[in-house]
Amino acid sequence: MSEPVRGPVREVAVVAFGQSEHVPDSAETSEVEMLMPVLHDVLAQTGLKARDIDFTCSGSSDYLAGRAFSFTMALDGVGAWPPIAESHVEMDGAWALYEAWVKILTGEADTALVYAYGKSSPGDLREVLTRQLDPYYVAPLWPDSVALAALQAQALIDTGITDARELAGIGARSRGGTDADPGRQLVGPLRTGDCPPVVDGAAAVILAAGDTARRLVDRPAWIRGIDHRIEAHSLGVRDLTDSPSTRLAAERAGAFEAPVDTAELHAPFTSQEVVLRRALRLDAAGGTVRVNPSGGALAANPVMAAGLIRLGEAAAAIHRGASDRALAHATSGPCLQQNLVAVLEGER
């Protein structure tokens, strides 16, 4: 039933990646003040001016800001007047990158600027994220994001797929091995060490097609495939110990056609890394895949940007010659509800 996977109709690469420092509270800067240095950074990496960008796409959430159309203010940082070709997704910036990639495939753009930002500090993130849940059966109970992840973690422990020791190890590795303390229990079985730090931050990438990409950077990170899929929306319908949508997205992105050397996984909770490693077959015998050399979302999880950062980190590893073929994953929603997988390669 599955159609054969075809490569993209146009060569598109990530040619630059930048991110802000991720801080617990950025009250001294507005969204655009936080974002602008990152935009200038990626433009400077390529030598492009804002006017050279054919398409701009961003990801952010009004629920973090507590204000409608909050993204329009951030657009000032792009230099959006006179009007530019621009779009926005109320999603992680990884999905903005997907839209920009499609735009380039259509031939309507050769270059694209993709950015994402999230300031969680103004609100209570665990409460804010309840508002993305089913409004009839679930949201009236206000189950917070850590509680839902904890239900998934317990299911993994019950089935023997993981245990507290492995989870603590994932947390420690993600934080560079310096912080092995699993911490206090937040929502059992999850401890503070299993959960992401709540931070504010921003990230940006530049995409370019074919020869434009080759001109802008020594070693473009070519997007060989990218796909995103979603689970049934009711948590109780899903098998929380597995992620069929990640597996399907990876298949469609061509991830299983050749081994990757690096994987940047967007797993905000240690237990979710376990699910993703299995779905993506990263633990195959004799495997040598470097998982989250950046530290992943457990080291810094600026909501709405953390998925785009996974794509950016994977691309940056290729730019600097640390990877030849990398997988990048982004997620959205409770318990890995929606998943995006991209395969990036450098020319050898």
Partner: protein
């Protein structure tokens, strides 16, 4: 560097949602202490019922009644309940597969301690005393005795007297809004009854109020420039609808005002002149009231009108 401002910001909505035939039947059923599920295309009974098949997306309509008892499929211990959650003392979040169902329902389980909770334990619904047709008609689950019996679901019409057709779901989120550097500087200057814009280092335009970036050049505005206090009405409208909680008689005029020295018009109310005498080019000045952090309105400054060419680029 001036002090960074923050202010409380509450976003609150009573979301009113219509339910449709499946969700309406389920929530009406809860009011009547009856739990309904729906038969999916693969034969599974989905509880809570969904309108479309989770696998095939086909429309589903075959409602069945399941038991108010069930089995915990996974759980999470919540030591510090938060606002809006089902219980105010520590409890377990649970997914419960009700007897007769093939999928699980999310809710809270009343339990004294995590040691009293395990996957596979038997639980039953504790009904809320006052029920309205909402998921919170289930107050929570509580531990139950007895093993899972083979439960035969029965077909259900989904029809009840006085069916619930909608829910009102109140939602409130609390923020500490921080306007950032440029806007904090602007607001602090206003407290001294000064209007201070910021200049773009590239195009030299002065933005009032400053937002931190020049939208044409995409760079940070970096130089503070005091503008006004007088300005010119560039365009205006006549407001004929009284806003709730606003003690201003209609009709009144709301205008774009280009303050002297600014390259962007800000907007404010015009007073001190009959509404039908306000015109483009009218020269105005701010009117401050005691204790206010911004001008209450602008009034005619008593100067001759500005020449159209002097403000045409700012309309």
């Amino acid at each position: 560097m001036s002090e960074v401002l923050t202010a409380p910001l509450v976003v609150e909505f009573p979301f009113t949602r219509s339910l449709g035939p499946v969700q309406g039947a389920f929530l009406t059923g809860l009011r009547e202490r009856t739990v309904l599920g729906i038969r999916a295309r693969d034969g599974r009974v989905v509880v809570p019922p969904v309108e479309y098949d989770p696998v095939t997306a086909d429309e589903l309509r075959d409602l069945v009644e399941v038991a108010p008892t069930g089995t915990v499929t996974t759980w999470a211990w919540n030591p510090s309940p938060r606002r809006g959650q089902p219980l105010t003392t520590p409890f377990a979040w649970v997914l419960v597969r009700l007897d007769g169902a093939d999928t699980a329902l999310l809710h809270a389980l009343a339990a004294p301690a995590p040691e009293a909770v395990r996957t596979g334990m038997r639980v039953r619904i504790r009904w809320a005393v006052a029920r309205t047709g909402a998921i919170t008609d289930i107050a929570c689950f509580e531990p139950a005795d007895g093993a899972a019996a083979e439960y035969q679901v029965t077909s259900h019409s989904g029809e009840f007297a006085d069916p619930v057709t909608g829910i009102t779901a109140p939602a409130r989120l609390d923020y500490a809004y921080a306007p950032g550097g440029a806007q904090s500087r602007y607001i602090q200057a206003l407290a001294e009854r000064k209007t201070v814009g910021e200049r773009c280092p590239a195009c030299r335009k002065v933005y009032v109020p400053p937002r931190g970036a020049c939208p044409t050049c995409g760079v940070a505005t970096d130089e503070q420039v005091e503008v006004g206090p007088r300005g010119t009405v560039t365009t205006f409208c006549i407001v004929n609808i009284k806003a709730r909680n606003l003690d201003i008689e209609v009709p009144y005029v709301y205008a774009h005002i280009a303050l002297d020295g600014a390259d962007l018009a800000l907007h404010a109310r015009i007073g001190g002149i009959p509404y039908d005498q306000v015109r483009m080019g009218l020269r105005v000045e701010p009117v401050w009231t005691e204790g206010a952090r911004f001008p209450d309105h602008y009034r005619p400054a008593g100067e001759p009108d500005a020449d159209y060419d002097s403000y045409k680029e700012l309309i």
